[in-house]
Amino acid sequence: MSAATITSATPPAAPVRTAPPPARAVRWALTRVEGRRLLRHPIFLLGMALSAVTLALLTGRLPSGALDYSATPSMLAGDCFVMLGGALWTFLAAFLAVTRDRRDDAQDFYLAQPTTARLRTEAALLSLAWAGMAGAVLIARVRLFWRDRRSPARNDPAGVV
């Protein structure tokens, strides 16, 4: 902090009122905030961690090989299993986000605002797309990690060209 502090008795100017924005702009702004909160939610993070561990264990049991088409159904089944588990945790976190006004007894704050409960719910549902992207990135990262670890070029010096 600088030593010289400028103080003023005049309060800062209030914003100029403009026409209300379209509902989609409010929905998008809420979706971004809810999406960020969802990605930081402890339950979501726990679900992601469990999914990552499960995926790593499943992937570790598959036969080695850069491209093993016989293993593809097993891989897809494993991914589906992991994604289902991740989705359950994600929906739990989203449910907690949607109901937090009631749990925290903050409904009066919300009811007096021009934004409706329906718009807030839509934004909360749309924020799940963030979680979907995070899940896809997680699966891709785990897959790449295991492929690199078990590729013949890495494990077998004879495989090096």
């Binding site: 914003p15 925290d104 409904q107 009066d108 009811l111 605002q113």
Partner: protein, 288 residues
Amino acid sequence: MSRTIEMSELRKRYGAHDVVGGVRLDISEGVTGLLGPNGAGKTTLMRMLATVLAPTGGHLRILGRDLDDAEQRTEVRRQLGYMPQEPGFHRHFTVFEFVDYVAILKEMTDTRARHREVRRVLERVDLGDVAGRRIRKLSGGMRKRVAMAQALLGDPRLLVLDEPASALDPEQRMRFRELISELGDGRIVLVSTHQTDDVAALCQRVIVLRVGHAAFDGTPAQLSALACDRVWIADTRDDRAQLSWRTAEGRHRHVGDPPLGARLVSPTIEDGYLLLAGPAAIGEELAA
């Protein structure tokens, strides 16, 4: 555009009990205080004015808009700042996050302008230094200021403040009074309180609610004047007084019809209020 609140026969009923029973009032710009004992219907009335609670009967127009119509109700909400009496917060939010979230609900979608506005209102309630602190770590007085900050977002034309100064220390109360007094210029500010000294310091107009009805509507000076020649000091308690209490000096202050020869003193707004609210002010009405 109309700059008033118009209530006619406004009513709120829970079961067989009228909590607000036929209130007729017009409220215009400036700071208006709402006084009344517990259970008088202050918070119910404030919640109806904040569009949170629908009336059971009567008519309510705010800023020229009819609250029965959903679109007009939304228009009112765009120009409303509401501070609930006991606000529930998302305790894991930081102060900035919470006010920012409410700002989005107030349809502020431009991130940069919104953050600037959030910082502005936090500065106005002296919370700029704790913007990054989680709400669960704040004191009760600080939480009150967070609630005030969100009410100030967007410079609303109508402010409904339900007991804004409770839980504040004397210095913060003084600052709040100054802030609310400033806000009264060009806006409708409705303040519900138990503190008669807040009303005396802040309000151009005071309304006393009693059992769901407006028992008094006038200036703070007129409320004090109700107790003119009806307040006296004596060494002992006088049973003929409507109300009496022991002062810090060990004497007794009485409100009611004075006995002959009593030493009359100048009334305060509190004396006028106690005389008006009478037994309800000390809870007898509820017992009856």
